[in-house]
């Protein structure tokens, strides 16, 4: 039953991806312009000094699903240790 449910989930994900309507520009000049706009805004900003009371909550559990996802942790951890 778990396997069937898993298969149904995979089918649903495939359908969602197939019917994905989100399109972003492919023109590189669009991204160059966006980059320039962001960097111009950055010119008037500063990296704020770190504040130990302002640390974000960390929910990431390194022991879980190390190999899963596009930005998987295992590759990052192994590259760090080299």
């Amino acid at each position: 039953m778990t396997q069937k449910r898993f298969y149904a989930d995979v089918l649903l994900k495939q359908t969602l991806k197939k019917e994905d309507r989100v399109r972003i520009p492919t023109d590189e000049s669009f991204y160059e312009a966006m980059n320039n706009k962001i960097m111009m805004a950055i010119e008037s900003s500063e990296v704020a000094p770190g504040n130990k009371w302002e640390k974000p909550w960390v929910f990431l559990e390194p022991g879980i699903e190390l190999n899963e996802g596009a930005g998987n942790l295992r590759s990052r951890l192994s590259s760090k240790s080299k």
Binding site: T15, E19, I38, M39, E46
Partner: protein, 211 residues
């Protein structure tokens, strides 16, 4: 040796670039923007449905990330951290403006035989999109990050700033709601042959799984 030296500039990690920025090299931030702006724009489009608004989200997210760069500890990837900021910015914008998106009732579905197949595909896509858009924000975020961005639940939890189990539960609830659509929408059943039996197959699997 020469090859390694040639490759060195292209293999700088996000973390190395971040260190450069922290040490005062603003130009390294441009490289970070180049690397992540497309992904961030695509993510923003899923929430905002408008290119101009999505560009605003991306710009605001990158500026916030720059200003808060000292808070990035490298426990998650920089991409996950950026996504976290962008999701928060998008949620705030949606709350502020309460944008209304195109409704499926506004979409005309013709019956011209020659265009029928593409219209059916278009309508199915619209129904799915509408159902995804109607999900509560947290469920939609979990679904978008899992389905379209292929992220792990650990990364989704980090982006959504919630425990691992909560991220997983949000995703499961989103899937369950979409399953209900396939199980209850009679019109989707009649379209099934034109969509390669995808819906029939899925409904059969859901029925088997529920037994």
């Amino acid at each position: 040796m020469g090859r390694e030296m040639d490759q060195e500039p292209s293999v700088r990690t996000d973390q190395q670039l971040i260190e450069d920025v922290r040490n005062g090299d603003r130009s390294s931030y441009s490289e970070l923007v180049k690397r992540h702006q497309k992904g961030l724009l695509r993510l923003s489009m899923r929430f905002m449905k408008d290119l101009d608004l999505s560009q605003d989200i991306v710009q605001e997210a990158f500026i916030k990330a720059y200003e808060k760069l000292n808070l990035f500890e490298g426990r998650s990837s920089f991409k996950s951290w950026l996504f976290q900021i962008a999701v928060n910015v998008a949620r705030n914008k949606l709350r502020e403006n309460r944008y209304h998106f195109s409704d499926i009732d506004d979409v005309e579905i013709g019956v011209n035989a020659t265009a029928e197949s593409s219209l059916i595909d278009h309508a199915v896509g619209n129904i799915l999109q509408k159902e995804v858009d109607q999900l509560p924000f947290k469920q939609k975020t979990a679904l978008v990050l899992r389905v379209y961005e292929d992220l792990s639940f650990a990364e989704i939890a980090e982006i959504m700033q919630c425990p691992y189990d909560t991220a997983k539960a949000n995703y499961r609830h989103a899937l369950l709601k979409l399953k209900e659509v396939f199980q209850t929408r009679a019109d989707l059943h009649t379209w099934a042959p034109e969509t390669n039996g995808m819906f029939n197959e899925m409904n059969a699997k859901f029925a088997e799984a529920a037994e």
